[in-house]
Amino acid sequence: MADTKPEITIDHIGKDYGELTALSDVSFNIEPGEFLAMVGMSGGGKSTLLRMIANLETPTRGQVLFNHQTREESQVVIRMMFQEDRLLPWMTVLDNLSFKSHDTTQQAEAKKLLHLVGLDDYAQHFPNQLSGGQKQRVALARALMSHPQVLLLDEPLGALDALTRRKMQDLILHICEQQELTTVLVTHDVNEAARMADRIVVMKHETNYAEFTGPADRHDAGQVGVVAENVLAAILHDKEELNA
């Protein structure tokens, strides 16, 4: 079993799609239990890097290490939450959580997690009976099944309205802190990144990146705003460089 809070090492990762280079050489560490956000322009390789951490894509160059071991060696449990809820429409909410196994332990864990995300009363509903926010909460609960050590969030709140989005941010932050998860969030929203993350990595085209520390108090709108402005400036600077 892997350490509860694995350190993730992005070790000279590169990814090519034929002639196109999505990432040429990226390296950084994600500390155990850290909440890291990746932001940047579209096509900057954020989601590609996240998918490589999730082992959904193979790097062309370099490797991703968990506590200095490969994914297979470390047996770290990684779960990913996608932009779309990706719930199975033919299963009830409860079955969507325990779809890998219907044993009583899994069912009990699923019910506990539904309680955690405030959907106890929806266990027997089908996904298309839920709102967008409720679906994403089910997807979050599903991602927390099997006690993951790493939670990857690929713009999971992008399609939600502002109020639901804020509630989901709070819920995710609360769960990540409580369960000491190493979390990586990909988002286009610099305010969301500034509000949620301990550290923000701005993915610049192909190779470079800039880092920002999250606000000391994420409930202080002023501090969050300053960090968000700095992050945005870095993204705009990258865009100008690219255009030049």
Binding site: L56, R86, P89, W90, K100, L119, N128, R137
Partner: protein, 273 residues
């Protein structure tokens, strides 16, 4: 949780309500009207019984043939041929559809040949099958099997190929085995399309059987109809046509009940809104 307590309250799943409605009778309106007008036309002498006997006469003929045992015997043999042909053809279509849908190697090996054979009208094979198998049971069952195999194959194949790749990726990200992926994601996702194939195959099943029994048989509803034609027994000819219509409708209801049974999740959400 404090945070979750502020979120919107749960609504219970809406139960399907049954209420008396004229809409329930609408599907029966036209058939009932046709029978009434038909009977009236016969009773008033507007329709000659040599051209079209009255519904009442057809019904009486049905009762007589049931009492003599001729109708139950021919119906049961037709049902046997149809069911066995569908099981064999539909089963083969299902297996080939899943195989080619799941495996690129199998698709490259089989699909092109299957598509070539599929374009031959299966009824055109009747002379060949009579030469090979005679007019015994295997000939008619083979024809039904060939006819029903392709709709099931095509729909199963497309159902598998059109499974949302995002769902498969989700399954992989949750470390699902290939078997789990098939059981929990691919098969349920393809099922609506598979059932469309089965429903279509049921229609083909009866069409094929009618033709096969009319051309080469010494039993079955088709044979009964051909035999009646030889004796200009119009009541029995019409009776056979009505029986085919009823059997077709029953098949459709069976297919619909499968959809209700396995795909209830598709309608629950919409009614819950």
């Amino acid at each position: 949780m404090q945070k979750s307590a502020t979120l919107s309250p749960a609504l219970p799943p809406k139960a399907k309500t049954r209420s008396f409605s004229y809409k329930g009778f609408l599907p029966f309106l036209i058939p009932v009207l046709v029978v009434v007008i038909w009977q009236l036309s016969s009773s008033m002498g507007w329709l000659s019984s040599n051209i079209l006997p009255s519904p009442w006469a057809v019904l009486q003929d049905g009762i007589t043939l049931t009492k003599t045992g001729e109708l139950p015997k021919n119906m049961s043999i037709s049902l046997y041929r149809a069911t066995l042909g569908l099981i064999i053809g539909g089963g083969l279509g299902l297996i080939l559809g899943f195989l080619n849908g799941m495996s690129n190697t199998a698709r490259l090996l089989f699909d092109s040949s299957i598509q070539m054979v599929r374009n031959i009208p299966h009824l055109a094979l009747i002379p060949l099958i009579i030469i090979w198998l005679g007019i015994n049971e295997s000939a008619k069952i083979s024809l039904v099997a060939i006819g029903t195999m392709f709709p099931v194959y095509i729909n199963t194949f497309n159902g598998i190929r059109n499974v949302d790749p995002d769902l498969i990726e989700m399954g992989k990200s949750y470390d699902m085995s290939n078997r789990q992926l098939f059981q929990k994601i691919i098969f349920p996702a393809a099922l609506p399309q598979v059932l469309v194939g089965v429903r279509y195959a049921l229609g083909v099943m009866w069409t094929t059987l009618i033709v096969a029994e009319t051309i080469s048989a010494n039993s079955g509803i088709g044979y009964m109809s051909t035999n009646a034609e030889d004796f200009v027994d119009m009541e029995t000819v019409i009776l056979c046509i009505v029986i085919y219509a009823i059997l077709g409708k029953i098949s459709d209801l069976v297919a619909k009940s499968f959809e209700t049974l396995f795909l209830d999740w598709q309608t629950l959400g919409r009614s819950g809104k």
